[in-house]
Point group: D2
Chain length 137, copies 4
């Protein structure tokens, strides 16, 4: 599936757009996204919310797992948080680590502009027979 | 720690507020929150985003784990998604399943207005010596 | 599927037998197993190994998820360890928390003879079309 | 901490020894272990048990996380299973992905003799002040 079709598909992701998450690169089984931190992403003590970090990683996970053109639904995610931040830019990079017709697994590394690892996300999808194009008709 | 202090502390959670997450009940080691689904919570195919479900559960997790008054930081979360929804109201209910001076673990059930279980979240916190009051000074 | 067929099926689990894991109760979507701790289950400092606790919970998970008669394969597990022990009896109790034709999720509580929660295990299976009987032919 | 001290410490791991798990390499924050599959590792349908794969990965995790000399206790693990096997040799390789005085996180890749990834394990430890030497006195 070509990159512009995937970009088009994910351009309608209201939640990612509402949070200011931006899709950077796409490849087969891979994706990279970023988030410029502002006040809406913070918790009550001025640290980026775990849910905002999750959402960024989740977009990279969704794009990477749907990049083959077949609809992929997240069924399990595990995230470990290593370090808190309160400003700057966050990056999430998804890599495919296992893949079969029904299931695939991805690791997503979340880092900041100094390339420190802030969180580690591992997610598994269930792959439907349906393609992205079919889901949009 | 009394409920009004915890409510006050979490009323400044920018991310939860921005998403429209509402804190319902609080108790020792327990919390319940809700989210009325609207367009900003949806992904590109009109289903509530996994990140929005996570964020709702994460608030219940944060409130329950900080309810003892000592600062608790989420270090690991695992979430399993069971069923997608596109409208209605989501609820997250957090329960403490293990607790010691340094670490505590919570299970959060995410359900809809018909009480169907949509996702299951299990999270562990590291408990600092610092209290919520100290963190606000 | 009746209980004796499931018991028969799991009686050939070499790994569980080798570790001394014993299957107690079986029901639809439920199972309970136990392990009497002895030296082979300990790590280098005399505490029950995380892998032994996992194995006990994993058997309860396997029995509960296969109890409907359709083959179920574990695809994701998350375990949180709360308290170490070095002697006594361990119990694992599996409960089904979500279920559809393709996927199902279980929570397994691991406790000791004083009913303290020692670890919490959450697992998801992929359900094949094949039944247990077919897999044994 | 030098390698021979760590090897000595883990040579007394009854559970790993009972399963035939063998420690290969050790480095700062790293470890590699192997398991030659035989009948005791199989489940009722002749496939290596998820608990045996977990146990192998768990040893690599324990050695890597204790390699700095400070006692490290596993508090959370998430494992995704990608492919089943019934014979051959399994390898687990642990890598440190985050580290601070109190907490550290590791990724462990489980593969077979053909270097196929069979499972992916992500684990977090709580690091005590106590050292391995102190725990053995």
């Amino acid at each position: 599936m070509d990159e512009s079709t995937i970009r088009h598909y994910f351009s309608g992701d209201h939640f990612a757009n509402y949070l200011g998450i931006e899709l950077l690169d796409i490849g087969p089984g891979r994706a990279r996204a970023k988030l410029d931190i502002d006040q809406r992403h913070l918790n009550g003590v001025g640290i980026v919310h775990g849910g905002a970090i999750f959402a960024l990683a989740d977009l990279a996970f969704a794009v990477a797992s749907n990049s083959h053109g077949q609809i992929a639904l997240g069924i399990n995610v595990s995230i470990a948080y290593h370090k808190g931040v309160s400003s700057g830019t966050l990056y999430a990079e998804a890599e495919e680590i296992a893949f079969n017709p029904k299931l695939a697994t991805y690791q997503i590394r979340i880092s900041n502009q100094e390339d420190e690892t802030l969180a580690s996300f591992q997610g598994t999808v269930y792959r439907k027979r349906e393609t992205l194009e079919q889901s949009h008709q």
